[in-house]
Amino acid sequence: MSELASAVSEKKRKALPEGSIIYIILAILTVFFGAVMGTRFLSMLNIMNILRQTAMISVMSVGMTFVLSTGEIDLSVGSTIALAALVSALGLNVNTAVGVAAGITVGLVVGLFNGAIVAWVGIPSFLVTLGSASILAGLARWVTDLKSVAIVDDWFIFVFGSGDVGPVPVLFLWTLAVMAAGYVLLNKTTFGKQVLATGGNAKAAYYTGINTRTIKLRALLLSSTTAALAGMLYAGRLHGARYTMGEGYDLSVIAATVLGGTSLFGGKGAIIGSVVGSIVIGVINNGLILMGLSVAQQMFFKGVLLLVAISINVKLQSRQEG
């Protein structure tokens, strides 16, 4: 009897290959919103819209996957978006190259700052990035005195956010490119293996000759850089930058990454899962807006849905590993 039971649960485990849960969650949400709102939700136009809105979160979730995989966290990505968008927009007043370089530089500097404090001072990234988030948010308000900055550079607007290559939005291409690069980097390079080992057991990794501090620094650098890129995409899509950009993105990005199968405790990362997780977040955001909920109601239900989805995911995952 019990042998039968265990054989059945064995089968169930095999039937659900690792990382598949997120697709099921996505399917359930799509069916739900589709049932409630019909073609308003399921139209090609809206689906493209969701994917466009999701691109920023997708790009950042790739960077976040590396950070979580090392056992660290980055809570400063939201503020990095705003500062990078603003600084990039200001730089565009000089010329295109300066604008692009300025935005990316913000990402690099933030990453080095976070990474250096985590690695060399030894403060947990949770506190470090919480602090730097505040610094960055302050700076973003400071540089323009709360004013927004318009972008008129056509090339920038096309490449970062608003253009289409044939029928394909550039935001799509950015997402695919970043996802592919992240996938190779995490799964096929020494750096990726060292990231996972550092998160799985930092002490053992250190004894194996891995410089765990540099690994953490580089992971945080990746996260800030993808956040800066996301900020520029955001600015290009909206033809301007404002200090409020990126508010609430920290939660979305971390939720997307965890939903995709990356462990919050390190040692396990799933790049493609993170992007699918981002799409789940995008579907939730979009669905709630289309349902005509107020901003307050949207925030409320988004939180509820996220917690439910993450709980299901974590529970099922631990069962699979059981």
Binding site: S2, K188, T190, A197, Y207, G209, N211, G267
Partner: protein, 503 residues
């Protein structure tokens, strides 16, 4: 005697479709010490976890003190009269001995607050009754392995357990500490407590046990009277083959006098190292030499190796590799210079438990499994298969999580990492903890083989004096952070007895 306290009948267990226990029986009588032996992965720990109740069985029945207890799925519940001391300890390191002992049922005052006094008094009472005088108010993290062992036993007794399972309690203990543990077991026995004792040290098993039960590939092989069998009989039951005796010839001769190089061409020189627990140690290591360091745990041997490998920095002294002094070594730098440390404490320092056997094995040699710029999965699997075979790692596949391997097989994965690097200078810190007899011999051979080629050498630290005596060309005796004696195999064979007299 005569009353059965445990009766396990027809216990079967599968993990992921692979059977690890096949209708196993085991019975235990009151006041008896029962040995449980078998090769790495035979199913000893799993069987005991089922008895303790933290693991479920697929079928079978268990009776404890005459009462039937459940074994299936939902029956995972610790049983009050059974205590288990795990292969890997389960103490909270930052809590004191007393707090650990009463963790599951801290005595409280009427106010609901913890009664610290009572907790301390009752713990020291138990500890003293076992013939020890350790301070029960120090954090467990500061204790030696033997003392942690004692804390675990005290915890078991505080729960009034009448059955205590000890899973490889002597694996990291030195002879004195083993003697002490045995005196504790005898005390327990005289109080009517029954003990199940798992170990790979068959001589010791026969010394302390009344009966011994042998498992092979998850099946009962025999139950024998400890007074009526020899170590060889037991070894034969365990492997299912006639025992092959480990002779010096098989392992290889210690380097002869002609081969021992002069001090001038030492490949590693340690000069006046002062560090925590190490008080001024100097020695040199020569090509083709296996240098043993014999000492009790806590003698500074682990700290010494960790300084040499760059895990911690010496306060004073120099480390020269191939004649060149290095400052501020890190493990990464040390590995570049051709050193590799097999650390003690496999679970904390040696392995990423949540990763696969394969991912653990390739970690120190990522450069070797690449094709151009990318890691090549085929090469990874090939390497992992080859190492598993070489070290006889028993796992369903190389994709299996290391956490699910038996203790001895986990240790072999740690060892395989070192052999994968082929580093010139191997530092081995208690390399055979938890490894079965046969594998021990194979490991000794691998070390010997490694050292005999090129300009390689090894330093072996071990609590097992037998291993040191068998394997080493030269032995340094370490006591309280200092080298107090040196023996050369070429002068007079190093024997276990000689070492025992010195450590």
């Amino acid at each position: 005697m005569g009353t059965r306290v445990v009766n396990m009948v027809g216990i079967s267990k599968q993990f992921g479709g692979v059977g690890v226990l096949h209708s196993v029986n085991l019975c235990l009588e009151a006041g008896e010490v029962l040995g449980l032996v078998g090769k790495n992965g035979a199913g000893k720990s799993t069987l005991m976890k089922i008895l303790y109740g933290v693991e479920s069985a697929d079928s079978g029945t268990i009776e404890i003190n005459g009462r039937q207890v459940g074994v299936a799925g939902s029956a995972k519940a610790m049983r009050s009269d059974v205590a288990m001391i795990f292969q890997e300890f389960s103490l909270a390191p930052t809590l004191t001995v007393a707090e650990n002992v009463f963790l599951r049922r801290l005595p409280t005052r009427r106010t609901g607050l913890v009664d610290v006094r009572q907790c301390q008094e009752r713990t020291s009472e138990i500890v003293r009754s076992l013939g020890s005088d350790i301070d029960v108010n120090v954090p467990v993290a500061t204790l030696s392995v033997a003392e942690k062992q004692l804390a675990e036993i005290a915890k078991a007794l505080s729960q009034k357990a009448s059955i205590i399972i000890m899973d490889e309690p002597t694996a990291a203990l030195t002879s004195d500490q083993v003697e002490f543990l045995f005196s504790v077991i005898r005390t327990l026995k005289s109080r009517g407590v029954s003990v199940i004792y798992i170990s790979h040290d068959l001589k010791r098993v026969l010394e302390i046990c009344d009966r011994v039960s042998v498992l092979r590939n998850g099946r009962n092989v025999s139950v024998v009277d400890a007074r009526a069998v020899s170590v060889d009989d037991l070894a034969c039951d365990i492997t299912g083959e006639e025992p092959i005796r480990a002779t010096r010839r098989e392992i290889g001769h210690p380097t002869s006098a002609a081969q021992v190089s002069r001090a001038s061409d030492s490949i590693l020189e340690v000069d006046g190292i002062i560090a925590p627990r190490v008080h001024g140690v100097s020695f040199a290591l020569h090509p083709n030499e296996i240098l043993g360091i014999a000492g009790l745990s806590g003698s500074g041997r682990t700290e010494l190796l960790e300084v040499v490998f760059g895990v911690s920095q010496p306060r004073e002294g120099r480390i020269l590799v191939n004649g060149i002094p290095f400052r501020g070594l890190t493990p990464a730098k040390a590995i570049e210079l051709g050193l590799y440390l097999i650390p003690d404490e496999r679970q904390t320092k040696g392995l990423v438990l949540s990763h696969s056997v394969q991912d653990n094995m390739i970690l120190p040699v990522l450069q070797k499994v690449m094709t151009r710029f990318l890691i090549d999965r085929r090469k990874c699997t090939e390497l992992a298969r080859r190492l598993s075979q070489q070290l006889n790692v028993v796992a369903a596949s190389v994709r299996h999580r290391v956490a699910n391997l038996s203790g001895g097989n986990q240790q072999k994965v740690v060892l395989s990492k070192a052999f994968a690097t082929g580093s010139q200078i191997m530092l081995l810190d208690d390399p055979t903890v938890g490894v079965d007899v046969e594998s021990k011999r194979e490991i000794a051979q691998l070390v010997r083989q490694h050292v005999s080629s090129g300009k390689n050498a090894a330093i072996v630290v071990s609590s097992e004096l037998e291993l040191i005596a068998e394997l080493c060309d030269r032995v340094l005796v370490m006591r309280e952070g200092a080298i107090v004696d040196e023996m050369r195999a070429v002068d007079e064979p190093v024997t276990e007895a000689r070492l025992l007299a010195l450590v």
